[in-house]
């Protein structure tokens, strides 16, 4: 697991109900939180995509779309590193590591009908951030996204 560079300052903590569409709220809250943290516009776009996808997974798969179960967020900063954690209650269902076992999406296979047209979320997350870690502790399942503010916008 990618270690968090300590000391880390927590910038925000909030939760959303597990209702499809609420990932928009999460993206907005995270964007507002990190707006002044020195990320480039390109990195902000990437972080927004990664947060949106991880939140959708938490809503749909971790919390099984149950609105009474919250998805919990924390945003940390340490130096030029931003860390966003997204936690749901699907830990016991994910004990085998759903993220690790998901089949890699292949456009050619999807066009041939060998894979569902969907299933792009994890690919997007992994390529949008510098590190993605998954932590399961009992029923609590947490995805931790790390992005480092070193990219130029050329």
């Amino acid at each position: 697991m990618t270690p968090v560079a300590w000391p880390a300052r927590r910038l925000a903590a909030f939760e959303i109900a597990s209702v499809p569409g609420n990932e928009r709220t999460a993206r907005t809250r995270v964007a507002q939180t990190v707006a002044a943290c020195g990320l480039s516009p390109a990195q902000l776009d990437k972080l927004g995509t990664a947060v949106g996808e991880a939140t959708m997974n938490a809503i749909e798969h971790g919390n099984r779309g149950r609105p009474e179960l919250p998805v919990e967020f924390q945003v940390f900063q340490s130096g030029d590193e931003i860390v966003v954690t997204i936690s749901d209650r699907g830990g016991e269902c994910n004990a085998g590591g759903a993220e690790a076992s998901a089949e890699a999406p292949d456009l050619a296979r999807k066009l041939a009908g060998e894979q569902s047209p969907r299933g792009w979320g994890l690919l997007l997350i992994r390529h949008m951030v510098d590190a993605m870690d998954v932590i399961t502790e009992g029923e609590r399942h947490t995805v931790r996204l790390t992005i480092r503010g070193h990219e130029s916008d050329e």
């Binding site: 569409g21 990932e23 928009r24 993206r27 390109a42 776009d45 990437k46 927004g48 995509t49 949106g52 996808e53 959708m56 999406p105 456009l107 050619a108 999807k110 066009l111 009908g113 569902s116 047209p117 969907r118 299933g119 792009w120 979320g121 690919l123 997007l124 390529h127």
Partner: protein, 118 residues
């Protein structure tokens, strides 16, 4: 209805081409709207469909899945799909998913209209 749901407006351009102007968010919820626009274009005999992403605000993996479904249908009908108006972020996503190998990407509507069939 999701307040951020995108809109898709179809414009006929030339004899056998149509532009679908996309605005707002493109997610799995957009599928009925996009497929309705696609069917309208197909009913009009369009063999070339140009997706204008100039008004796109956000597209997620559900939206990408929807584009894959559109591609499958277009391939069956031997129609060409092309796109323009993508910003850098979404061009990168098209490259990451290899959608750019199946959907020709142009810099502008003008160049997209000038592009021939592959």
């Amino acid at each position: 209805m999701n307040e951020a749901q995108g809109s898709m407006r179809i414009r006929r351009v030339g004899d056998a081409a149509a532009v679908i102007d996309i605005a707002g968010d493109v997610t799995a919820d957009s599928e009925p709207t996009l497929m309705s626009a696609y069917e309208d274009a197909t009913d009009q005999g369009c063999k070339r469909l140009l997706l204008n992403f100039g008004g796109l605000e956000y597209m997620n993996s559900g939206g990408i899945g929807m584009l894959v479904t559109l591609l499958i249908r277009a391939n069956r009908q031997r129609q060409e799909l092309a796109a323009f108006g993508l910003n850098r972020h979404y061009r990168e996503i098209f490259e990451l998913t290899r959608l750019d190998e199946a959907i020709t990407i142009y810099e502008s509507e003008t160049s997209a209209l000038a592009g021939g069939t592959r």
